[in-house]
Symmetry: D2
Subunit: 344 residues, 4 copies
Amino acid sequence: MIVVMQKDATEDQISHMIERVEGLGLKAHVIRGTERTVIAAIGEKREEDKSALESGMGVSEVVPILAPYKVASRELKPEPTKVSVGSFTMGAGTLGVVAGPCSVENEEQLMSTARVVKKAGATALRGGAFKPRTSPYSFQGLKEEGLKLLAAAREETGLAVVTEVLSTDDVDLVASYADVLQIGARNMQNYRLLEAVGNISNPVILKRGPSAAMDELLLAAEYILNEGNPNVILCERGIRTFESHTRFTLPLASVTYLHNKTHLPVMIDPSHGTGHAYMVADMAAAAVAVGADALMIEVHPNPEVALSDGYQSLNFQQFSDLMTRCYKIASAIDVTMEKGELVV
Amino acid sequence: MIVVMQKDATEDQISHMIERVEGLGLKAHVIRGTERTVIAAIGEKREEDKSALESGMGVSEVVPILAPYKVASRELKPEPTKVSVGSFTMGAGTLGVVAGPCSVENEEQLMSTARVVKKAGATALRGGAFKPRTSPYSFQGLKEEGLKLLAAAREETGLAVVTEVLSTDDVDLVASYADVLQIGARNMQNYRLLEAVGNISNPVILKRGPSAAMDELLLAAEYILNEGNPNVILCERGIRTFESHTRFTLPLASVTYLHNKTHLPVMIDPSHGTGHAYMVADMAAAAVAVGADALMIEVHPNPEVALSDGYQSLNFQQFSDLMTRCYKIASAIDVTMEKGELVV
Amino acid sequence: MIVVMQKDATEDQISHMIERVEGLGLKAHVIRGTERTVIAAIGEKREEDKSALESGMGVSEVVPILAPYKVASRELKPEPTKVSVGSFTMGAGTLGVVAGPCSVENEEQLMSTARVVKKAGATALRGGAFKPRTSPYSFQGLKEEGLKLLAAAREETGLAVVTEVLSTDDVDLVASYADVLQIGARNMQNYRLLEAVGNISNPVILKRGPSAAMDELLLAAEYILNEGNPNVILCERGIRTFESHTRFTLPLASVTYLHNKTHLPVMIDPSHGTGHAYMVADMAAAAVAVGADALMIEVHPNPEVALSDGYQSLNFQQFSDLMTRCYKIASAIDVTMEKGELVV
Amino acid sequence: MIVVMQKDATEDQISHMIERVEGLGLKAHVIRGTERTVIAAIGEKREEDKSALESGMGVSEVVPILAPYKVASRELKPEPTKVSVGSFTMGAGTLGVVAGPCSVENEEQLMSTARVVKKAGATALRGGAFKPRTSPYSFQGLKEEGLKLLAAAREETGLAVVTEVLSTDDVDLVASYADVLQIGARNMQNYRLLEAVGNISNPVILKRGPSAAMDELLLAAEYILNEGNPNVILCERGIRTFESHTRFTLPLASVTYLHNKTHLPVMIDPSHGTGHAYMVADMAAAAVAVGADALMIEVHPNPEVALSDGYQSLNFQQFSDLMTRCYKIASAIDVTMEKGELVV
């Protein structure tokens, strides 16, 4: 249920209603909108609870949340959520761009990439330190050493740092270095890990699993939100279909659907979503046009020798061209985006 | 094989080489590019044929076509194909927009739609006269009566007319009324029908089947091209996947892939591709950004009472807004598009 | 609607009700069950029609058909349909086996295969004379010459003959040679072709398209049934999914679903359904266990040199082993199946 | 690489070769077959290592492992792996049956089910104590209390106990109560969890993710095997496709494929694989016919009131009928299976 407070409800009235919600054995999530405050009351539905809350001072109305997800729902919070951390801002008309290598390989690779993506207009640096690899025999990432390099790159460039966390055991460590934590597609339904990142304050990028239905994605987000972390960014990175000319099929209609159902911002990852460097710029441009709140792009100084995902990584020139094209489209449809410089 | 003629090859030399190709029992398709003429020699590969042709006067080189499709291949014809018929132009930097109702229902419905889509900037009118319906008990279209209404709408508005043909028996009839014939997704591999439209001169829109691989689509186009009709437009209208929040999943990376492999223009149909009116404008905008050569949009005076596909049809206002947004994006990336007027 | 006649309704009463149904502008399909006769009244639903029919002499009740397909529905005809033609019998506890080469290539190939599959227990011979090929440059079949060879093989072995028809133009020709006509997966929604085979009396095998939903398959069958041909056999031959270790994914639960919804018999094609010869016997055995009414198996004297589909064709020994295994399973669960001899 | 020892190689020679493998910085996995011992040498491939090992005393040959998975590969170990724990035996011609409720709900529910499935011929009891639920607001399982009930049911019935583990933190706890640990489909690529169950000795059932490719499944198994736990059972439980008349699409050809590529036993779960109780027996029968090594079946005293997955659970009578049918098929094709008694 959503307890919608009157516009002029006092802080005391709000606090009092939170107590009443909790007194009924329900969990209270408070959303302070620009217009009014609402309190989500999460738990088993009972008709008598609704009546009990409706009579509260300062309460405008009590309405059910029809979606299976509650805190993530646009019914609860009609205004879009904007996530800001360091230089990285996304949502509500501002486009964030996260760029960098699939894996952090060494200082030279990471620092050169960081400088270029910053110059070209990116607002955050991505780089994998803990890598989930299909084979146990593949390169598993530099781990803490990689995190230190990412922090150093932030120090120099001012870019926010985004990196993946694979295990509940590593959440605190990763959160101590990174600005934004990423939950990979393979872990979208690793519920213990979702709960763990729900208990920190860093924003979380939650990638859609390649066969996840939209409700499954939103309920996975709900696991994080329900623990108290409100800064969840949903990321579409492609689904598994019969198509074999792309690594995954990237459905951009996900942006439209999610904007309709949730206030959370939506990111598009055209690198994983296509699996081919030559397709990335086209799909990034399309993502801007469709209304995505952020992009995630793999960039590498020399994709041919990358330790992972080289075939889908852009080199510096390609990334710069992509940013120029995206900036033109964003400007045409009144989306705010960092204006980068050309990289040669 | 491709017989690439020298830049200064004479007409006599070209004619002579065509004869030699045919003398070897091969089929000759001549493509006259801006730079030079090439002759595709289609048939069973024999090493001795290559040698025999290489020695011809005016021949620059003879190279194999690696793709399974030949005439459709970009190896054979690097320059993009531009299709023009009436007011409808698409390809090579010009965006065509085909709009109109799913089914032609009556004169009032069709004429009012035609006037509005023309005003908003569309360059062709679509409308189904022969309808392929999942159930034998559903409305099957007005048939020839519908074709007559379409021709009348062209008369008044100057829009080119696009309509579907379902059967070899109807090809001549439909071609006598319509400018462009459409092969629907269900008939993408109806090879006798493909051959029949390969034997007329009207341009053909070939819709991708919902589970067709790209090679299957291009080989279906090859059935048409191989009969002698060079004006084939490929249309991506969504594939069948596990997703249920959209009617189909619309993979815009198809545009990038197809532009890489073929010279044929590529159209996007966001109406069928999403199945929901509220998603159509977003995906149309994305299609423009990704580089599509044309759009196909379902428009109806009153979608709620449409005889077919109402849930995915736009009303006049929604279509006008879509065109305004697409025009802004096209302009930002130097794509030519008809500038429409606002429709209120 | 279904007009259910009383058990003791007379022929006169039945004829009279058919007239009344037609008098209401509805189409009457009569199903004579072992227990009672029912008349399907197909057309637009009107409440007053129901009342008009309920009052008829000999009428037990008038009930709506809830499924979108009517004549195909198990609501209309609870007893399973059994199809018999020549030696080929399938349905209602009897397993039919259709075996033979993908394409008819020549007399020697076809006759040797026919003799062996007959000996091993098959009840019908398959062989493609008109071949739907993905590429216009592939072998398109022997056409009428192939039909003549099939008829000659029937003459010698007594096997029923099954072959595909691709075009409305060929229906009469093919029906004059073959016992059973096959509509291939690519033509499942070629509605003019479905109507054409609805107007002949030969049984029709209707293959499921690789992305067809069950309702789409059943409505395609309805196009045939609605024209008056009651002998439709549904064939599951695999769907298109992300899996790449098989050519298609073969969902055997289709048998259970279809038996629940329709009285029409269900055939399984493990050759196309897997695309690999080494998988065919396992899946054929599973199809028998799940309750399929028939199998379709590709067999070739020498799969390695087959003109089409060699990688999924069994040689004679493999086919004989498959039949032995299927016979054991059929016997264990009381399914009737021809007992073949071992082929060495 | 695989170091294949001679048939008469001594223990000393084997030990010595293990040392040499490890001396090269490679990991040694020893597989003692009935015919001969082989040593898998896992690590980066270097040509000089192969030569170094070939010269060892007692070595027959050194061959590369072509598959990306090594220890799981049939190249390394041609004989099928048989897993036995308590009464539960599966693999190499013996069919194991795991049955029980989706969730452990209470003592009465679990004990009554355990008695019945034991009587009907099951060899292990399943029951979820830690439940991975799509929504954070759904019943999450009885946790340790559920494990205690499972252990009590084993005490009384002698059935082996199978239950899921969700988190590395719970592995030791779950392993202390259960005989066999299950990794659910959502965690198939939770690599830290795979490593954790690789470090215990209990057999592990690894469920295929709904969009996992076969190589991804086998490489996930490899994560477990590579840590030293050789008892991995692969479980096919259905994939996500466009089909909506079943919850998932259950591809039985997976059994054939996996038996071809790996020595690990393969289980089929028709309950999740179809999502409908009325389909479970048919698909279980088919799984036996195709050659599966084990079945996993959801059974509940009263499916209509189950706390989870009731629509796909069988009641006692239905389960008993399923077992009777499976026993008949198993017997017909010489598969060993516990003969149960009829349950009324």
